[in-house]
Symmetry: C2
Subunit: 217 residues, 2 copies
């Protein structure tokens, strides 16, 4: 059998050397696949293929599958939480309006991107990678919650909200966010009656803000 000198192939681009770009490209490809299929079901051959390299190349830039996992998550998370924190700083709005801004801004930022799959992924893998889960909790979640907590504190200080325990109120506002992002990723495909997430967040904010405003029953 002869080599059949390139019979109009589908653009078989030649091997390239791009030391600088590889790590980020690999991390991005890995993130997509980990979010799609989970850690165990993701093969490094596939990650390499999606990044347009051979499997060996993965090991030039990452120690192991686990190291790649960690790197992919960290690379995606850090900029996101920073952007989320920035949402808190918006002008002279009421606490209620700032809560709405924060929640909606966050949703616009993560919905439909691989980053939106991270909460589900981290929940799924928390048992197998406790160090990563802990890092994520301490570095990302705490920080995001503190941002949310500051809005609520300000609302209490100004008399707009009644004096609820901030620690708890923060987590209470978090829970619809957490639920909807995990929920849509876990069951979204198969649920014909999934409510529109934006509408859900709106209704939840209505109830919560109303609950934070009013007198204790």
């Amino acid at each position: 059998m002869t080599v059949a000198a390139e019979p109009c192939e589908v653009m078989t681009k030649p091997r390239q050397r791009r030391k600088e770009a590889r790590p980020a490209e690999l991390a991005a490809a890995a993130l997509e696949l980990f979010v799609e299929k989970g850690f165990a079901a993701t093969r490094l051959d596939d990650v390499a293929a999606r990044a347009g390299v051979g499997k060996g190349t993965v090991y030039l830039y990452f120690e192991s599958k686990e190291a790649l996992f960690k790197a992919a998550i960290e690379a995606a998370m850090t900029p996101t939480v920073e952007a989320a924190e920035a949402l808190v700083e918006c002008g002279d709005l009421s606490a209620a309006e700032r809560l709405r801004e924060f929640v909606h801004g966050w949703w616009r930022m993560v919905a439909g991107t691989p980053i939106g799959g991270l909460p589900k992924l981290l929940v799924a893998e928390s048992g197998n990678f406790p160090e990563i889960a802990q890092w994520h909790y301490e570095t990302i979640i705490r920080r995001a919650m503190r941002a949310l907590g500051r809005i609520i504190e300000a609302g209490i200080a100004s008399g707009e909200f009644r004096p609820v325990p901030v620690e708890f109120a923060t987590r209470i506002v978090f829970s619809p966010m957490f639920s909807i992002i995990v929920w849509t990723r876990a069951f979204g495909d198969m649920m014909c009656d999934l409510p529109d997430p934006k509408r859900f967040l709106d209704e939840a904010l209505d109830v919560l803000i109303n609950g934070l405003h009013g007198e204790r029953k």
Copy 2:
């Protein structure tokens, strides 16, 4: 090397034949391990060992690892949702009090048991076993939500709650339950500042019930 005729072993009980009891014992052992380690990381050798049988026995009663997974989940879930539905039927309480009963009763029922690990497990494996996730959603979650929804409907009908959209209100009340059960299982071990779940549920119920009562801002 000789066989060393049983030098005071740790109660090596003889092989037994218990056709009737095996499936349930295997399903229970499997549930524990799947909840502890996830589907991929659970070895059938371990399941068999925990159930006190050899690996081959697993295949006398279950077609495959996946079939065992499905059976373990279904066996645990069905009685649980029935018990949860029964919680709705309690006497002539206000809607608010019935919500509290439902949420606390559910928590008492699942906290600290392997069943409490199922939401996290199902989230984690939803991508790899869409049929199981779909069965779970349609059979369990819908049913539990309908029970919750009935409480809210009654509260609206009696004028205790304002006329919120029930579909949404149901999911809003669900979200702190979902959050806390998944959260404690995923991050509970490593979080020194995890709030007491019972207190969290109480505070969430306060805010939510207050939010359902009051006038729209």
